[in-house]
């Protein structure tokens, strides 16, 4: 990772974190404050990104929405990755037949389109932020798990571990010192890529009315509300849409800087 890439990534991450943790620094207003008289104001000096149908300030909402959207993305990825690490590691280190079973199950999960999986989960739990996290997390897990598995398998057969064996290292030391840290590093890059995708996914669910409920300033929900007024107030859907794209793009860029490749998705 080059120096500039490091600095840039740090700045971007810092900015997102600031938006997520202390949105009021950037947008002091209340994202839920309504003002029906001020509805559908064009972007301008008073409202940078304009206002929505209830006169809420879209700039404030976009900034405050970072927390919801990002934490959905983070939590979903963490869930998916957590499951994947367990399944993938078990598969990679187990005897052939267990590996085979896990692989088949993963393939079956992979074969169900993710949105269908999400729909089924939500049909079971009802819509909301929590279910959206579970849905996105579960539907991304099989992909990650296959990756973790192949990662660990190739490490398991690497010269590096052979060298450790020759140096007389026991299994525990090999796993702790070499296998886990080396498997995790590329996963970190992948997680960064994945967060961007998870944010899009969660937004898609909100857009279908299955995720965060309005008037929460979640970007997908805002987009969903904005699409009704596409002809009247383009700014209502433009800015939350741009926010989603921006998060996904910066996540991809940082992921790539960390050495992640799309290949792995």
């Amino acid at each position: 990772m080059s120096r500039t890439a490091k600095i840039l990534s740090a700045i971007v991450i810092g900015l997102w974190l600031l938006m997520a943790l202390a949105p009021s620094v950037l947008a002091p207003g209340d994202p839920l404050a309504i003002n029906p008289v001020q509805a559908f104001q064009k972007p301008g000096a008073a409202h940078f990104f304009g206002t929505d149908e209830s006169g809420r300030d879209i700039y404030t909402r976009v900034i405050h929405g970072a927390s919801d959207s990002l934490s959905i993305g983070l939590a979903a990825t963490a869930l998916g990755m957590g499951l994947a690490i367990i399944l993938g590691t078990v598969a990679a280190l187990s005897p052939r037949w267990i590996d085979d079973i896990i692989l088949r199950v993963l393939e079956a999960l992979y074969a169900i389109p993710s949105l269908l999986m999400a729909l089924l989960i939500i049909a079971f739990t009802g819509p909301g932020v929590g279910p959206a996290i579970v849905a996105v997390g579960l539907s991304t897990a099989p992909g990650y798990a296959r990756l973790v598995r192949s990662q660990i398998r190739s490490l398991k057969n690497s010269e590096m571990l052979e060298a450790a064996t020759v140096l007389g290292r026991g299994s525990w030391l090999k796993v702790r010192n070499h296998l886990v840290p080396n498997a995790l590093k590329p996963l970190l890059a992948l997680v960064t890529l994945g967060i961007g995708q998870a944010v899009i996914w969660a937004a898609a669910l909100s857009f279908l009315g299955l995720g965060a409920a309005p008037p929460a300033p979640e970007w997908g929900a805002m987009l969903s509300a904005g699409r009704t007024y596409l002809h009247l107030a383009w700014w209502m859907s433009l800015f939350p849409g741009l926010a989603i794209v921006a998060v996904a793009v910066s996540a991809t860029l940082i992921g790539r800087a960390l050495g992640g490749k799309v290949k792995s998705l």
Binding site: R104, V105, E107, A108, L109, Y110, A111, I112, P113, S114, L115, L116, L119, L120, I121, A123, F124, G143, S150, G196, I200, A203, A204, F207, L208, G220, L223, R227, L230, H231, W234, S237, G241, I244, V245, A248, V249, T252, L253, R256, K261, V262, K263, L265
Partner: protein, 310 residues
């Protein structure tokens, strides 16, 4: 591994996967709250009498023990009987048969368009300057990050409402396909381009590319003879994923562009708790995924017979 053995393994594996999918769906659907009998009788808002509900339960074997239901369900699936849709009161196979071609067409066209775009972008990127190439790389990443639902709306605004060039909704003509295909294809093209550019770049900078140049090959020939194959390989490996993400994307795109299709059926079936319909679509998508994966793998074997099996 010989081709016959390979095909045998594939088919066996596919059957296992289908069985697992069927089981997963069965379990998932039983977990969903709500009485299936109500769904059969027109949803919870209906005035169905207790007797009518009981009759429906008996008719659909919902009054039997769960395991018996499971066996019954598997037995029917084995006989390729997907049952009758609760909400449409038509055989699931028939409903799917009606809407399926639309979705397949849409997805295949989008897949083809995405491949084509990705190839063109990747090829263009190898020739252009560092700045142009970085700009291109940013564009791909942005394309890959654009959500379908937003892209579709923006395209409609732009090309239908404002410019009036293309129809917003499916009207049976080829033009009506342009926007939905674009909406589905662009994000995928972004992904594929990223993939292809990486491997294309690797291939074009490799020793064998140098060897080819040393034989007197022009850049264009180098691209056709060597670059293309290497670019295609990782993208092929991703085709199964791409296709299944296209099916997911179709749910959104079909809703936005008012196109009949599997995606829309799926959404309404889940909302109406139409179990046979959901099962049918899920199994079918899984089958499509498996077939597409096998095709892609076959193609991979053709391009790279020595490559290891995954």
């Amino acid at each position: 591994m010989g081709t016959v053995a390979w095909a045998g393994r594939k088919i066996g594996g596919a059957l296992v996967v289908l069985w697992l999918v069927a089981t997963a769906i069965f379990i998932a659907i039983r977990l969903i709250p709500g009485d299936p009998a109500e769904a059969i009788m027109g949803g919870p808002g209906s005035q169905a009498s207790a007797e009518a509900l009981a009759a429906a339960r008996a008719e659909y074997a919902l009054d039997q023990p769960l395991f018996a239901q499971y066996l019954l369900y598997l037995g029917k699936l084995l006989a390729l009987d997907f049952g009758t849709s609760y909400s449409l009161k038509q055989p699931v196979a028939q409903v799917m048969g009606e809407v399926l071609p639309n979705t397949l067409w849409l997805s295949l066209l989008a897949l083809a368009a995405a491949w084509l775009m990705a190839l063109c972008f990747a090829a263009a990127a190898t020739r252009s300057s560092r700045f142009a190439s970085q700009l291109g790389s940013l564009m791909e990443i942005i394309a890959a990050a654009v959500p379908h639902f937003w892209l579709g709306a923006v395209l409609i605004m732009l090309f239908s409402s404002a410019l009036g060039w293309l129809p917003a909704v499916d009207n049976g003509s080829a033009q009506g396909l342009v926007l939905p295909v674009l909406t589905l294809a662009l994000p995928l093209a972004g992904f594929l381009t990223q993939l292809m550019r990486d491997s294309l770049g690797e291939a074009m900078g490799s020793q064998f590319a140098l060897a080819a140049r040393a034989r007197g090959e022009s850049r264009l020939k180098l691209f056709w003879r060597h670059g293309l194959r290497h670019a295609a390989l990782p993208a092929l490996g991703l085709t199964g994923w791409a296709f299944s993400s296209l099916l997911s994307g179709a749910v959104v795109v079909e809703a936005i562009f008012a196109r009949p299709g599997l995606g829309r059926s799926l959404l309404s079936a889940v909302l109406a708790r139409d179990i046979p319909m959901v099962t049918g679509i899920a199994l079918f998508s899984a089958l499509v995924y498996i077939v597409v994966m096998a095709l892609a793998e076959g193609l991979e074997r053709l391009i790279n017979p020595a490559g290891g099996q995954r």
